[in-house]
Symmetry: D3
Subunit: 316 residues, 6 copies
Amino acid sequence: MPDAARPARLNLPFVGICTFGKFPYIADWDRIEADVAVMGAPFDCGAQYRSGARMGPRGIREASTLFSFGLGGAYDFEDDITYLDPAKVRIVDIGDADIIHTDTAQSHANIAYGVRKILEAGAVPVVLGGDHSVNIPCIDAFEGQEPIHIVQIDAHLDFVDERHGVRFGHGNPMRRAAEKPYVTGLTQIGIRNVSSTARDGYEAARRMGADILSVRQFRKLGVEGVLARIPDGVRYYLTIDIDGFDPSIAPGTGTPSHGGFGYYEMLELIDGLARKGPVVGLDLVEVAPDYDHTGTTQTLAAQVLLNAIGRILHHR
Amino acid sequence: MPDAARPARLNLPFVGICTFGKFPYIADWDRIEADVAVMGAPFDCGAQYRSGARMGPRGIREASTLFSFGLGGAYDFEDDITYLDPAKVRIVDIGDADIIHTDTAQSHANIAYGVRKILEAGAVPVVLGGDHSVNIPCIDAFEGQEPIHIVQIDAHLDFVDERHGVRFGHGNPMRRAAEKPYVTGLTQIGIRNVSSTARDGYEAARRMGADILSVRQFRKLGVEGVLARIPDGVRYYLTIDIDGFDPSIAPGTGTPSHGGFGYYEMLELIDGLARKGPVVGLDLVEVAPDYDHTGTTQTLAAQVLLNAIGRILHHR
Amino acid sequence: MPDAARPARLNLPFVGICTFGKFPYIADWDRIEADVAVMGAPFDCGAQYRSGARMGPRGIREASTLFSFGLGGAYDFEDDITYLDPAKVRIVDIGDADIIHTDTAQSHANIAYGVRKILEAGAVPVVLGGDHSVNIPCIDAFEGQEPIHIVQIDAHLDFVDERHGVRFGHGNPMRRAAEKPYVTGLTQIGIRNVSSTARDGYEAARRMGADILSVRQFRKLGVEGVLARIPDGVRYYLTIDIDGFDPSIAPGTGTPSHGGFGYYEMLELIDGLARKGPVVGLDLVEVAPDYDHTGTTQTLAAQVLLNAIGRILHHR
Amino acid sequence: MPDAARPARLNLPFVGICTFGKFPYIADWDRIEADVAVMGAPFDCGAQYRSGARMGPRGIREASTLFSFGLGGAYDFEDDITYLDPAKVRIVDIGDADIIHTDTAQSHANIAYGVRKILEAGAVPVVLGGDHSVNIPCIDAFEGQEPIHIVQIDAHLDFVDERHGVRFGHGNPMRRAAEKPYVTGLTQIGIRNVSSTARDGYEAARRMGADILSVRQFRKLGVEGVLARIPDGVRYYLTIDIDGFDPSIAPGTGTPSHGGFGYYEMLELIDGLARKGPVVGLDLVEVAPDYDHTGTTQTLAAQVLLNAIGRILHHR
Amino acid sequence: MPDAARPARLNLPFVGICTFGKFPYIADWDRIEADVAVMGAPFDCGAQYRSGARMGPRGIREASTLFSFGLGGAYDFEDDITYLDPAKVRIVDIGDADIIHTDTAQSHANIAYGVRKILEAGAVPVVLGGDHSVNIPCIDAFEGQEPIHIVQIDAHLDFVDERHGVRFGHGNPMRRAAEKPYVTGLTQIGIRNVSSTARDGYEAARRMGADILSVRQFRKLGVEGVLARIPDGVRYYLTIDIDGFDPSIAPGTGTPSHGGFGYYEMLELIDGLARKGPVVGLDLVEVAPDYDHTGTTQTLAAQVLLNAIGRILHHR
Amino acid sequence: MPDAARPARLNLPFVGICTFGKFPYIADWDRIEADVAVMGAPFDCGAQYRSGARMGPRGIREASTLFSFGLGGAYDFEDDITYLDPAKVRIVDIGDADIIHTDTAQSHANIAYGVRKILEAGAVPVVLGGDHSVNIPCIDAFEGQEPIHIVQIDAHLDFVDERHGVRFGHGNPMRRAAEKPYVTGLTQIGIRNVSSTARDGYEAARRMGADILSVRQFRKLGVEGVLARIPDGVRYYLTIDIDGFDPSIAPGTGTPSHGGFGYYEMLELIDGLARKGPVVGLDLVEVAPDYDHTGTTQTLAAQVLLNAIGRILHHR
């Protein structure tokens, strides 16, 4: 929380209240004035293995303070660009959607409400999960907006239609998204891992407009090759399941899968996507701090998000 | 899993598959032949703070193997009694109720189904939580049985009627129980902690037949004094929230509260209850292994359960 | 952070930004309007063994959200009192004092500045450490105020005058306090542990007005007996080193010492002190979350603080 | 434990008893009817640095449940193959060999007994360590079988003949194997780390038929190049020391060594080996869950084993 | 390691090499000149459940540095005595006995060798385990000395004669001791826990001269009452299994058992024993740092040992 | 601590006192006779985010014992060289510099004193941090020596001149070094991470003689290309911030940054540097064991240091 009254503060990362990136907290959702608004969606009852992603927003906010030091923006000497220049962009943290334990439908509705408030304010929503089911209300909130193409970074296809009556768990979001008329296609990147989905799931996804790439296929194509397969001239919604990254840098997640991406692969993909067209929404899900003893995963999430936001705003 | 074919095995605690106490696993719920049947209820979407109790049954089973060593029963030199004598009692583990993520109602129904199967087999059900909401289907399953008096060990009153539509979360079970015609009363022991329930909750509980005792009130009365307040001549159902114990020995739980019970206080209460009348059902809930780095909490749960089962069967 | 615009939120403990007890954050230190103002002092360079207390304020704030649930105040059924009734008391979190790494003097000056701002606003300062050296600027800030008597809960005497030039480390605060003309005396409770201070330290403390009690002496006297030794008719400043508590409930601290207090002993002492006279300032120090894997210590700190604040405000 | 009586169960990974991959448990070692039989060998007294590998089998079994979800086999969309199709292959878990504390010889004998039982049943033995010394009785059990060529994945050569009388510790297994007349050769892959073995150990290994490759040599050759150096037309026994992998993905082991393999390198090597000829036995050792706080290592072990078993059975 | 050449050092606890209490290291076992000599016995292959006690000596040494601060001895203000006055007593650390993995007999022989060296030097041996089996060679080393009476603090009786050929594991030491002609009796304190030993073990122990007391029996008798049952006019050997203490303060151990002792109970017992007669040897075993995330257990071990040594030397 | 009196000891890694690499401890700093002298600098009050690096020297020493096994030197089969041959090189551990809590200037002065003592003895100083500010006194100690060129491995530029009066924190060392007349230049390798330094810091660094390379620039150039940019014919001082490595292998540090180096990249760089010219000093900083639950980071530090020392001595 920047403090205009005390401009002279050194404000080391470990000092002060943890909002995302120490950006201002906006309690009144009718007064969001920002380019980007960050909201937590601490719901984890959609998880099929380890729970704990409900603490994701808190973990990511804490880690993000490391990168908040010095509010004159973020200078990247490789790009020779200062991202997140406070004179040019305004980022706010609006807190969390209200979660109702035992009630998936109402929790999801509350998440959708928050995203809609951000969209109404003309800001780009950045949602901190929570398990991947929180992507469902995020996409719901885009109803009535211009069409979007979804770019998913994930170890799992998340394309199950229904199993035992479950349609809104963390194995279902991409199927739910593909059903939307305003979702024009999906690019699913990082998919791997024996047994995450049966063959018919892959077939259905492809039929419904998905381009599916494994980590090794991504590497063979290269970042440019992958970007070339993503349609031009559309608006992108980016959904990042932290388990798309390798367990070596993202151990703190519910359903880890070895063989995932390294940091630069995704940084370069996101940078390329931001250059290619507008990224109009973003969620990062499945960070489970209880399994992240060293904080590596939440640090990764914060570092990816701040870089992504910086690039999305710089290149738009 | 005892192995009749290899009687000569030393079978150290860390060796072999983790069923509860290494008692036999019964996969076919139509063939439960036992005095006590243990079932897991790994549901944690009723939790209001930290999740993770879904891993409780696995944690308790692992810890219980420490006490499984030597299958000639459990000799207690203070009582000079050998409890759990395999020649006299039969205990089985029937695995877990089927949990449906995102679906509280169906998950609870599946738990109730398992408890009913145990009751139909004439065995005493011992249910491993999961959060305290799993007590709701446990009590549901006693519908049609002889009346029961509930003895609850807990830091929290769990007597909320409804909040934001939630009636089946881990703050509601004692209210739900009190509504049942076959629940004749409640004794709620260990209740403490500023702000867990508002004053009207206490008033409602007392009106609906509850006797509420704090830890300090328990200590002033002594075990005998507390037992004297519990009605005679009835059947008891015992529900143990591990947070009734002190965080010093039960840190691994979702909503810890300082100032809880020590081990012997509860051992002696349970022993006294078992002597006083039949304990016809038992659940132990809210063990969250992710917060139990040293295993202390799951060891406590296993130690309490094995002692409780031993005493319930010996004194009946 | 309560959110007047959305009164209908369930606002579970794990939801939302972590201010202390989810009380409002006041960024402008010239506009503190409150009965109690909480400030963090995340300084740990005064520690002689394990560092990490700089993360104490964050840890305590996170844990305090567990007890924030339901903002209608905190009903204690044992006392039959609702503490912290929002209609009657106003509590705010003003964030942290600015800490300057490598610079003890400036960091301490910044802490004193914050406490003075709180005192100027007529609020009771509640400071979250940091190591025990942060007590030094807290007491400094009372310069010019009415005299105070210090009640210290601690395993260590903290009465070293100077060693190797060090006068402002975590072994020195009570000596620094005793030197102040406006400190009329000290009651030092819980002192124990071979080798923490040499004999001359004890002699100096007694000479300068200290009444020193070990844990076992406290237990022999009882709470009432201890309270009787504390002077009447004066204003109290309470400094709580979390290592005054037993390592079983407060493992997450830099210099743990076995044989400390239980929860109720201190709750009852604080309650008695609040009834005896005004508590005009309070610090709780030495919580080191990195050594508190289960969160037990920060939960204790939050639970003690919320209870202390409730009683201080209720009984004044 | 699959449960034919309740086919409709969702059976989420965290639900139910932990056998390996939730495959059926066979208690009677005279009735093993399977293509692959998994046995634990929880012995860790052969370790020279950190102990704890005795908990390896439990850790791997727990992690393997993540990959057990959906028992229709494991579809790999990169290969477009469904491995582990239950209609085609039968896998069982026979529990653990009986370990006798303080007695290396008897513990090893009991491990050899279990492997022999599996071989007699015509199944492929898959042994979960335990420290690498458990490989010694595994190879002993192949006495009287057709010859085998050993492929070892490991950071260490494990080729010490004798030191201080020790011949059956975790530094000795490859030497013991090389002495067997039915072991026709060794391919030792991943060997690195200053000071693990003196020069004479390398010379002896080469003299006795070993082909030794470091991680960097492996990378220079490529998977195909390495496979080409492994003899054709023989039966393979694969022994995987988890420390052959990099500490970034396998921190939970007794003697970690930086600079190890990534996931895909080994997956592709194992796939290639399975295509090249029959893999008639397999052990995976040195997983120490106590050092694996996030579960990354045991997840890796489970993921590698399920993929290896799938490929061994598919390509045979 | 005190450093005479640099007397002016502040020497904070976290600074410098970890010998026990930062006392001098003596590498040459033929030149032990001391009142007390500390030796590590890092053997853990006698453990029946969790291993890891091999790291006990390292953990205890690290923790002991906290209490080493200020080398002018340890002033206890409750007793008004300065223990461990360097002008009066000399304590050394001789490092560890040589452990041979896989070889219990040789490891035990090496431990006995070290203890004999200490006894030959006329010093009191203080041995840091390792599992409780290391007590066996400790007692062996007293062969040829004056008789001793053993006082054991432990949750378990450790009186198994033989099982599956095992006679020198951590379940056997008291039986082995009782067989020695120079062991005149045993007082076994803290014994509890269903199933640790069968009834015949208790009968054998009593027959062979043991006085067995549970925690609750100890509390009924009081410290003085317990001391009165220990024979007068004999030499004492004290063996402390850390699991005699409660898991709340000693979670880091292989076979924890709830319901154990608090810190002062044992401090007072040890103090009383030291006043009653000479304590000629001491071991403290079963500290397993891998399960001691906060360091609580190793801190307890160090605090108990330094207090015990101080009192043994002061009262002799 | 090698023990000449007992040459026959097996001396497993977990046995004995932890000096660095179990090399001899030299308490008298006027009698350092060695090729390399290792000293700890456990100071962490220069850290801007997480503290805990004060425990770095202890953590690295413990981990180094893993690589100490077998004192016949370290045979590297890839190089076919035996490094660290005890017949050819002498390495000692001189313990730690004296740290004065709250006093940065005096702590730094004490570190400089120790390094000067090593230089006076003609040995190469190897300093174990502590935070990166300890590099400042290390470089100070080279005053009056022949000029040095600094090679820095780090995620951060550490080139801040002054902020809020801080000139000697962990963000300042390279600026302080560049100001020295005897520092002829800097090569800064691994620099990355948005927001670590503002643009003017980079400009100042380049102006003052720095060659700055990111991880990706390093990879494009290759090890040989990078070595070619480092000046020839000069003496090198190597400063390794462990956060130059990737968080996947170095999570235990105060300010982690994703996208860092792998193990072999740095091993090969260090090997090349040692071949290129004399490395006359070395520090490795920012290992924070409290965040290194699995020990991975301290193992990396120990492995890098032992390899670096071996190569520096072999190639000189």
